[in-house]
């Protein structure tokens, strides 16, 4: 019998019994983690690995802008983590070791448009880690997904950078600058200009729906004949939008890896996709199809915007999602419904962020409703 191996949880190491007085074994109440790889560090490393295809596609698609955004966000998160944990009197290095700050940074960066200035990313990171996580008591205690708290803070703060207008902003200047020759603006190394010049696919869909519904024209006639982007480009990710969520293919690859590694519970993305497909179908039947065929419309909602990214990366954050499988189904379906509700009803073209925050608020209740029956049968009523 070997000595109990040391691991990263410091406990008051007891004085060893006098030699020969029998082995010193450790005891602990349930739940018992059975494998070495299930420490938070490994989990977070898995998420970073799963995000790799996304990051690669973002840099390919949006070039240096995306890289800058990523560096600012991850750096901001790490710095904020160090500062805030030190403020709380805990040693910041301990918090650094579990890699949760970089993961929040990556998710936050992926949900921001590449045109957003650097301070938007940095303030988002500080809000995410500060208000989103450390104020609640560090990793594991936070109710809301920190990255989404950061993005919500920044979205309301700098609405002009993140609302639908923000995406197109850069393109006008660059378009205008690139258009007239003497501006001397060399074609930046970005991908073909037209990719990022039109509005995000969700924005186009939203304006089409809005035009059909309301009598008074909400935008000038020049805009209406933009046909929505072909589904294939949407799937591949050859469209404008927040840097991480454009390419559905990358999201799928990363997401399925996470589910296979069981870092992310597969029930949540399944619930989200199921609910949004059904609601999109119903919306289309209900006449909100904006002139697209059923398949196009549903496909549009599936591949467009942040749905895939949200379902696989944001919603499956283990801390802020339910623990029981049944709870996860409820969480996923609720999330899908909220996303579709915001997309069709609200003014925002994209509803994933708010939907995630809403469902995170409900998670404690879901956990209480879906307590599994213990191994020995249901708990007897306390007399």
């Amino acid at each position: 019998m070997t000595e109990a191996t040391d691991n990263n949880q410091q406990t008051d190491t007891p004085p060893r019994a006098p030699a020969g007085a029998g082995p010193v074994i450790h005891v602990a109440p349930s739940p018992h983690s059975f494998s070495k790889s299930l420490t938070t560090r490994w989990m977070m490393a898995d998420v970073l690995l799963a995000a790799a295809p996304l990051v690669a596609w973002a840099i390919f698609q949006f070039g240096a802008e995306a890289l800058l955004q990523l560096v600012v966000c991850v750096g901001g998160c790490v710095v904020a983590e160090a500062v805030f944990t030190a403020m709380r009197g805990r040693c910041p290095l301990g918090a650094m070791k579990d890699l949760s700050a970089p993961v929040t940074g990556v998710i936050l960066a992926m949900s921001l448009p590449c045109t957003a200035p650097w301070y938007v990313g940095f303030i988002g990171a500080c809000a995410a880690i500060g208000i989103g996580k450390v104020v609640f008591g560090g990793l594991g205690q936070n109710i809301f997904n920190p990255a989404m708290v950061g993005r919500a803070f920044v979205m309301i703060c700098f609405a002009w950078a993140l609302a639908a207008g923000g995406y197109v902003q850069l393109d006008e200047e660059t378009a205008a600058a690139a258009a007239d020759p003497e501006s001397g603006m060399a074609m930046t190394a970005k991908e073909p200009l037209d990719v990022i010049s039109q509005a995000t696919p969700m924005d186009v869909l939203k304006t089409r729906i809005k035009d059909r519904k309301e009598a008074a024209p909400t935008t000038s006639p020049a805009r209406d004949d933009e046909s929505p982007v072909a589904l294939s480009r949407l799937f591949l990710g050859n469209v404008n939008g927040s840097i991480g969520e454009v390419s559905t293919l990358a999201c799928l690859i990363g997401g399925l890896y996470l589910c296979w590694r069981r870092t992310a519970a597969w029930q949540i993305p399944a619930g989200v996709l199921l609910a949004s497909v059904i609601t999109a179908g119903l919306a289309h039947l209900g006449g909100g199809g904006a002139g697209l065929s059923m398949a196009d419309f549903v496909g549009y909602h599936m591949f467009g915007g942040a749905l895939m990214f949200g379902a696989f990366f944001i919603a499956t954050d283990p801390v802020s999602s339910p623990i029981t499988p049944k709870g996860r189904w409820i969480f996923g379906i609720g999330l899908g419904l909220f996303i579709m509700l915001f997309r069709t009803m609200s003014v925002f073209p994209e509803g994933v962020m708010f939907a995630v925050l809403m469902m995170n608020a409900v998670v404690p209740l879901i956990n209480r409703w879906t307590i599994g029956t213990p191994v020995g049968g249901p708990v007897p009523e306390r007399k």
Binding site: P117, Y119, V120, I123, I131, I156, C157, F158, A159, A161
Partner: protein
């Protein structure tokens, strides 16, 4: 039943920091969250509350011996309502744009918990001088609290202080600070800060 209770000076000092109506007693939350978007509106509100609080406290303590237990709340509300109406009319007459901007929040002072609480706790029990000093202390404490929140929100939210440009032109205004979520966040964080300072001071004085 004028029991002895704390003296005037003590009441005044308590109102400032130890028993600050916003940071310690968490009273008067509705104006604190609503009007601290800008320093001007916050200070006008603080001025109005001060006027009403002092007048109500003085009058209540003057008639405290005549109060019947079951009628005392009716009397308090009556006096506070009267003074608030006077304040509202004067504000509409003197600073019309400010009263437009504050809108419903001036009449809202009637139900402001700070005032009726001071009437109940202090004015109906103690002499006029003590009541007046307590009212002054509380209203200054209230004004300081409003100022602290309004300063943070206005500087971050619109880059100005009392309307004067403070932040550089390139400062991206934090839209959230002007909106209600900003109010809740700022109040929460400042409350945390106040408690933290309190705890540190207590630990230091406790330990010594």
């Amino acid at each position: 039943m004028a029991s002895d209770g704390p003296t005037a000076g003590e009441r005044f000092l308590r109102g400032l920091i130890p028993e600050n109506p916003v940071y310690r007693q968490l009273l008067g939350m509705c104006p604190t969250l609503a009007v601290t978007g800008g320093m001007k509106t916050a200070m006008t509100m603080a001025g109005a509350v001060a006027f009403v609080l002092i007048c109500a406290n003085v009058l209540t303590s003057l008639i405290r011996n005549l109060l019947k237990p079951h009628l005392r709340i009716l009397v308090f509300t009556l006096t506070i309502a009267a003074f608030v109406t006077i304040a509202d009319r004067v504000l509409a007459y003197a600073m019309y744009d400010m009263s437009q901007e504050l809108g419903p929040y001036i009449p809202l002072i009637i139900v402001n918990c700070v005032i009726i609480c001071r009437c109940e706790v202090c004015a109906s029990k103690q002499s006029v001088v003590v009541a007046a000093s307590d009212a002054a202390g509380q209203s200054i404490g209230f004004a300081m609290a409003l100022a602290s929140i309004a300063a943070v929100r206005e500087i971050l939210g619109s880059g100005t202080f009392f309307g004067l440009r403070v932040m550089p032109e390139a400062w991206p205004n934090w839209g959230i600070m002007v909106m209600p979520p900003g109010a809740f966040l700022t109040l929460g964080l400042l409350l945390g800060l106040a408690n933290w300072i309190g705890a540190v001071r207590e630990k230091r004085s406790g330990a010594v």
